[in-house]
């Protein structure tokens, strides 16, 4: 497979077995930077087709590292990763397979300024399709579709630095949507957005499910979890691996878990003469109104 030379339609050909239930399967995966700082320790995790998985964890629990590993940018120090039924542990060594993985798995970086590196929005959304070696007609079509889906067509000849924070995020998602990925990974999508842009973005992310995408979102903001998650996995900031998994209601009502993993804090408030110890926890019911 993939014996052809490079730009030849790196498209729908196979890394894969299309019927694989599991989009990703991680088996005892560890990762450390420069052999010192341990970012992930012994992670076992399975991500199913069509889920909207939220990975919840405090800063420094290894969430971003995990996403970069799922996209083949980092190679695990030990353990194996399978994507679409195929072993991708060493995919970084094989540029052709790596590119195919990058097409099927779109990663939206936390910092949109890093992701939007072209002179205009249009060029940015076209970057991925062009690297795939698609013909001009297909590139034009996919770019138009992605801009439309993210509702940013009117921004297409703008420069990235002219956009607001919320617009940048939507354009960043469009830049991976234009490659027709099966999976979209979003790293802290609502961090540093104002509440209104945040709400818009949550709708956009929920809408990705209707497009038939598998979505993985990392966050430490509990309030967005019930709006987008079909399943939640909690990463412990000490353990550097999943410590709990369940639906949004189960996880968010487990106060002890959330405190232990540093997702909510408890502290003393002085109410009149009573010292009340409580946590700032908003359960899912808080959002259903």
């Amino acid at each position: 497979m993939m014996a052809t030379t490079v730009p030849a339609e790196a498209g729908e050909t196979n890394i894969t077995n299309e019927d694989a239930e599991h989009v990703f399967q991680l088996d005892a995966v560890s990762f450390s930077y420069h052999g010192r700082h341990e970012a992930l320790i012994d992670v076992d995790l399975t991500i199913e087709r069509g889920e909207q998985l939220v990975i919840l964890g405090a800063n420094g629990s290894g969430k971003s590292t995990l996403l970069k590993m799922l996209d083949g940018l980092y190679r695990p120090t030990s353990g194996t990763i399978r994507a679409f039924g195929q072993d991708i542990t060493d995919v970084a060594d094989d540029p052709v397979r790596a590119r195919e993985l990058h097409r099927r798995v779109g990663l939206v970086f936390q910092d949109a300024d890093v992701q939007l590196f072209s002179p205009t929005v249009y060029d940015d959304v076209a970057f991925g399709p062009l690297q795939m070696g698609w013909d001009k007609e297909r590139v034009t079509r996919e770019v138009a579709r992605a801009l439309e889906q993210m509702n940013v067509t009117h921004l297409s000849d703008r420069a990235p630095y002219e956009l607001s924070g919320g617009e940048k995020k939507r354009v960043a998602i469009a830049t991976v949507l234009s490659m027709e990925p099966d999976v979209i990974l979003l790293d802290e999508p609502t961090a540093s957005l104002d509440p209104r842009s945040s709400a818009v973005l949550v709708d956009v992310i929920a809408g990705l499910r209707d497009l038939g995408k598998t979505v993985v979102v990392t966050t430490h903001q509990l309030e967005i979890v019930p709006l987008i998650a079909t399943r939640v996995v909690v990463f412990g900031d000490q353990e550097r691996r999943p410590v709990a998994s369940g639906n949004a209601t189960e996880i968010l009502s487990n106060a002890e878990l959330l405190i232990r993993t540093n997702l909510v804090h408890e502290h003393l408030h002085f109410h009149a003469d009573a010292n009340l110890m409580h946590s700032h926890l908003h359960g899912p019911e808080h959002h259903e109104g």
Binding site: L73, S118, P119, T140, T175, V176
Partner: protein, 288 residues
């Protein structure tokens, strides 16, 4: 940023370099925003294919550079003003940016030459030991020089102001600029804004914390560390951007897309301009 030509400093006592750098940064950002606005208005040059503009621009700059007679240079300058008008650039903006920019400076640099170049004296003044005389040659030299610089600068402004930056970059393909270089230029321009924002924040944070007047040595140390911070950020950003590019299929070679279409009108614009410029030069030869 103030145009200073080849004089790299500005003479001023007690400079508040913080305020000045902030002002410079703000002006750079503002200028680019204005420029993009003009590029989006519907005028004559805005409708011309960017590649046609690049080609005509190069021919025009050559013609301006080669002309030696004042009437031809003046005619070329007037032509740029007419182009600006048909492209709906406000005359005030255009002429001011040209005349108050580089040529004024050129004029100042040139004033001593008025007296230094020998020829038939037109005006004379005896100031004790100093005998000053403006010669005909001096005056003509000055006029030619200022007109030439004005015309060149006007051409550059016309090109840049009526073309969106991204289109201008892609149009450079037409003069065989390698596409990697074009991508680097585009990315450089894009990240200048990110770094300028960082600079602005660094300087604002500093000026809000500074009480009294720091010594020059302190200022230098501070400038050094903020440039260093900027460098650290540059390294981190370039790493992250590289990953972001790889994540979208980048393998070291870049491809760009452009949907330029040379219409008959564009070809007409190019050929007519080239003919007129060549005629201008022929007249110029005759006037030598």
């Amino acid at each position: 940023m103030e145009r200073t030509g080849f004089l790299p400093w500005r003479r001023k006592r007690k400079p508040d370099f913080v305020a000045r750098t902030i002002a410079g940064v703000a002006e750079a950002i503002e200028r680019s925003v204005y420029t993009e606005e003009y590029a989006r208005t519907d005028g004559f040059l805005q409708r011309v294919d960017p590649r046609a503009k690049v080609v005509v621009f190069i021919c025009a700059v050559l013609a301006v550079g080669l002309s030696r007679s004042l009437p031809v240079l003046l005619a070329l300058y007037v032509a740029t003003v007419l182009m600006a008008l048909t492209s709906r650039l406000p005359l005030g903006f255009f002429v001011k940016r040209v005349l108050l920019g580089v040529p004024l400076f050129a004029g100042i640099v040139f004033i001593p030459a008025l007296f230094l170049i020998h020829g038939k004296p037109l005006v004379q003044a005896d100031l004790g030991v100093l005998h000053l005389a403006i010669s005909d040659n001096g005056l003509i030299s000055l006029a030619i020089f200022v007109t030439r610089v004005s015309a060149s600068v006007s051409l550059a402004i016309l090109l840049v102001v009526t073309t969106q930056w991204a289109d201008l970059l892609k149009a450079l393909r037409v003069i065989r600029v390698p596409s990697v270089f074009i991508v680097v230029l585009g990315m450089t321009y894009r990240y200048i804004f990110l770094l300028l924002q960082t600079v602005e924040n660094l300087f604002l944070a500093r000026s809000s914390r500074t009480v009294g007047r720091p010594t020059d040595a302190e200022q230098r140390r501070w400038i050094g560390s903020s440039m260093g911070t900027l460098m650290g950020k540059s390294f981190k950003t370039s790493n992250d951007v590289y990953q972001a590019m790889v994540a979208r299929g980048f393998t070291g070679d870049v491809y760009t897309i452009s949907d330029f279409k040379m219409r008959d009108e564009d070809w007409l614009f190019v050929s007519l301009s080239v003919v007129l410029l060549a005629l201008a030069l022929i007249f110029d030869l005759g006037l030598r």
